[in-house]
C-alpha cells in the first residue's frame, strides 16, 4: 500500500495509483482521494473506470494441479541423469586430459628413455642408435681426388 502526499499527482503517478487500485491495494479513503484527483484528468478517469471493470483473469488458465505432468518430469530427470553421465566422461576426457597433458607427455618421454637406457643390447650393441637411424655412406671424395690426379698426370 502506498501513502499519498498532499501535492497533486502527475499523470504517471496517477497511472500507478490506478494500477494499485486495480490490484486491490488501495483502501476506501485512498480510492476516494484518487477519484478526486482524477477529476482534473478526464481521460485518466475514463481509463480508471475501464480498468476497474476488467474481468478477473486469475482463473482463466485453471488450477495449477491440472498442469501436473509426471511423465514429463520423469523425462526431465532422466535427461539430467544422461547429462550427468556424459559430463563425467566429458570432464575425464577433456578437462583432466587438458590439465594433465604436459605431465602425461613428460611421463611418457621419461618412461621411454628409461626403457631405452635400461636395455644393455641397445646401449653396448654393435649398432648404435645413430646407425640405425642414419645409414652409413662411404665418402667418395678420396676416389674423386685420385681420378683427378691421374687426369692431370696424363
Amino acid at each position: 500500500m502506498t501513502s499519498y502526499n498532499h501535492n497533486p499527482m502527475n499523470r504517471e503517478e496517477l497511472e500507478i495509483k490506478i494500477n494499485d487500485a486495480a490490484d486491490g491495494h488501495l483502501n476506501q479513503a485512498e480510492l476516494n482521494r484518487l477519484e478526486m484527483e482524477l477529476h482534473a484528468h478526464p481521460d485518466l478517469m475514463e481509463d480508471y473506470h475501464t480498468i476497474m471493470s476488467l474481468p478477473d483473469l486469475s482463473g482463466i488458465y485453471g488450477r495449477t494441479e491440472s498442469y501436473r505432468n509426471d511423465i514429463t518430469v520423469h523425462q526431465i530427470l532422466k535427461k539430467i541423469e544422461n547429462e550427468e553421465s556424459y559430463s563425467s566422461f566429458d570432464v575425464l576426457s577433456v578437462t583432466w586430459f587438458k590439465k594433465y597433458a604436459l605431465a602425461a607427455s613428460l611421463m611418457i618421454l621419461g618412461l621411454t628413455s628409461a626403457f631405452y637406457y635400461s636395455q644393455p643390447d641397445l646401449m653396448n650393441g654393435d649398432l648404435p642408435l645413430e646407425e640405425l637411424l642414419y645409414s652409413f655412406d662411404e665418402p667418395g671424395g678420396d676416389d674423386y681426388v685420385y681420378y683427378l690426379n691421374e687426369w692431370i698426370d696424363d
Binding site: 490490484d23 491440472s66 505432468n69
Partner: protein, 174 residues
C-alpha cells in the same frame, strides 16, 4: 551449500515447480508456435547445467521463470513469431473439457485468453506473471530486471490495452 547438495535439491524441486511454471508458460505462449512442454524441458535442463550461477539472491522459481522466458524470447526471435501471431488458429485457445464450466463461461475464457495473447510480449509477460501466475511486483522485478514503478506503469498500459482488445471482441466488462 555445496554443488552436489544444490543439484539434489534442484532435482527434488522439479516436480513441485513444474505445474506452476507449466500453467504460466501455457498462458505466456498461447497463440504461438512454441510448445510449453518442450520449452519447460529445455528450461529445467538449462537451469540444472547453470545451477552454479544461482546464488540464492532471488527465489528458485523466479530464477527458473527468467530462464524459461529468455528461452521463449530466443525462440520468438528465431521464428520471427510475432509476425505470425495473427495467423494462429483458434483451436490453440480451446479449453480442455471441464464440466464445472458453463458454456458462456467457456466462451468468455477463450476470448480472454485470446485477448492476452494479442498483447505485445512486453505487456503480455507482465500480465501473465501478475494476474495468472500471481507473482508480486518484487518477484516480477527479479524475473525481468525492471524496477517496480516501471512494471506498474507497464501493467497499467497492459490493462488499458486489454480493455481495448476486449471491447473490439465484444466482451462485456464486469
Amino acid at each position: 551449500m555445496d554443488s552436489h547438495k544444490k543439484e539434489e535439491e534442484f532435482k527434488r524441486n522439479i516436480g513441485k515447480l513444474y505445474p506452476r511454471l507449466h500453467r504460466a508458460m501455457t498462458a505466456y505462449l498461447a497463440g504461438t508456435s512454441v510448445e510449453a512442454d518442450d520449452l519447460l524441458q529445455e528450461t529445467f535442463l538449462k537451469a540444472y547445467s547453470s545451477l552454479n550461477s544461482f546464488k540464492g539472491n532471488s527465489g528458485l522459481y523466479t530464477w527458473i521463470y527468467s530462464i524459461a522466458r529468455n528461452l521463449a524470447i530466443d525462440e520468438f526471435r528465431k521464428q520471427k513469431h510475432e509476425k505470425l501471431r495473427s495467423n494462429t488458429p483458434v483451436e490453440e485457445f480451446q479449453l480442455p473439457a471441464r464440466p464445472e464450466l458453463e458454456e458462456n463461461n467457456r466462451e468468455e475464457m477463450i476470448l480472454l485468453r485470446k485477448a492476452i495473447a494479442r498483447l505485445p510480449e512486453l505487456l503480455r509477460s507482465v500480465v501473465v506473471m501478475k494476474t495468472i501466475d500471481g507473482m508480486s511486483y518484487p518477484e516480477i522485478s527479479e524475473v525481468t530486471g525492471i524496477n517496480e514503478q516501471t512494471l506498474k506503469n507497464r501493467m497499467f498500459r497492459a490493462r488499458k490495452e486489454l480493455a481495448g482488445i476486449l471491447k473490439q471482441m465484444g466482451v462485456n466488462e464486469t
